[in-house]
Symmetry: C2
Subunit: 247 residues, 2 copies
């Protein structure tokens, strides 16, 4: 059992809080029973499973090699207020968005980790085929993003790419691209849902970059009936994804 925070392994785990280190080693850190279980069930490779002393090993982990650590050590590696005593180092897996994908979400510079994670969770729930993260979007492997996905990051392909390039390719494959924006946009219920559709949503403050909006096939907005100026981006995305999914 590891009882010292000076232990090299502990130092390596803590370094994974930094994006640069995650990308260098091609792994990321997750914690909590549900996330570790989702990763394993979705056949992601757990490089290391870390269990706090006294926590009972769940049955689905009994074939797995685990590293035990003291309460104190677990607290130092945990990012949560009430740690569940289970964590893992997970290997990144290159995602592939193939040509058969019909429903996609594209994110332009979404910056709040909670929003990104929630949008991925919603895309999963709505049965979407994949998510494309444009430049300027918060890192997928940020701990808060992972927590907000509730495990959905293990369920559907998520790639990081240049949105203009991807939109261009999608359009060649008969995918209709919708940009969620306010100016010159149609109310979503006016838009017939095509077989293949990609929804682009944008930054919390600035919305979608103008060049990307121009490239889209349709501009879509959600009407505001009260005095609020706008909707939260993950709520707006949820409304549009379910509008598409329920058609």
């Amino acid at each position: 059992m590891i009882t010292s925070v000076q232990n090299n392994k502990v130092k390596e785990w803590n370094k994974l809080k930094k994006r640069k280190e995650r990308e260098k080693r091609n792994v990321f850190f997750i914690e909590g029973m549900h996330l570790v279980q989702e990763a394993l069930h979705s056949k992601w490779n757990l490089q290391e499973v870390i269990i706090q002393d006294g926590i009972e090993l769940p049955e689905w982990l009994q074939q797995h090699t685990v590293t035990y650590v003291s309460d104190h050590v677990f607290k130092t590696i945990s990012d949560t207020k009430a740690p569940q005593g289970i964590a893992a180092v997970v290997e990144m897996k290159p995602a592939i968005l193939d040509k058969s994908l019909h429903k996609l979400v594209l994110l332009d510079a979404v910056q709040d980790p909670g929003n990104l994670g929630t949008i991925i969770r919603t895309a999963d729930a709505a049965g979407f085929d994949g998510v494309i993260l444009g430049e300027g979007t918060v890192d997928l492997y940020n701990e808060k993003v992972i927590r907000a996905t509730q495990g959905s990051l293990f369920h559907l392909p998520i790639i990081q790419s240049n949105l203009l390039k991807e939109i261009n390719e999608l359009q060649k494959n008969d995918v209709q691209v919708w940009a969620a924006t306010l100016e010159g946009a149609e109310s979503y219920q006016q838009l017939p849902v095509p077989e293949k559709v990609a929804l682009v949503v944008g930054n919390e403050g600035a919305g979608i970059d103008a060049t990307i909006v121009q490239q889209a096939d349709k501009k879509v907005h959600i009407p505001i009936f009260g005095q609020a100026e706008s909707l939260n981006v993950s709520v707006a995305t949820g409304i549009l994804l379910y509008y598409i999914a329920m058609k």
Copy 2:
């Protein structure tokens, strides 16, 4: 100008981070240009406006008495990473939900401040008439809740009450009560939207209390098409509020 954190006013402002103190004095603390402006425009009483030294007083505040504080003092009273140098102490205002209200949201023990604030913002955007916070729901005047409302807490009546009592009264006034739940529920698109409707949503983990679900007229759920187990509560609420609003 106040330059010492030992100043009594500074101590009083800092005490407002605690619910007990807010309730005792019947005021709450807000910060940021947009929130202060929304409070003023919505005719809430600003007991005190606090401006950081060097920040230009916006035109709409020039009739108002303001208290200037040093950078250092502002940092100690601010809850944000990048303070905008403007804050206010706002008087609470008793909200009234009268009998003419047709569209309401009821929250049973929603605990995440971001979720509560986002739901209030969405209820405002969707043109709902009011929000009822049941027991066990996070405090409306929590700083994170206020920030997530983006000012919508100043736009529509929000009361704290016992949900069973309120549901009983709503039903007497021909309001149809919908409970968002998984078991024995109909998919939302199956439900015709009545003229008067109150949507109840529940706790992030446990959902709505069983007694409340039983009391509801309809049980409603959002279908899950992928592998996610559920939706985030503010996303789910957004989908249902807009389903109701767009009918």
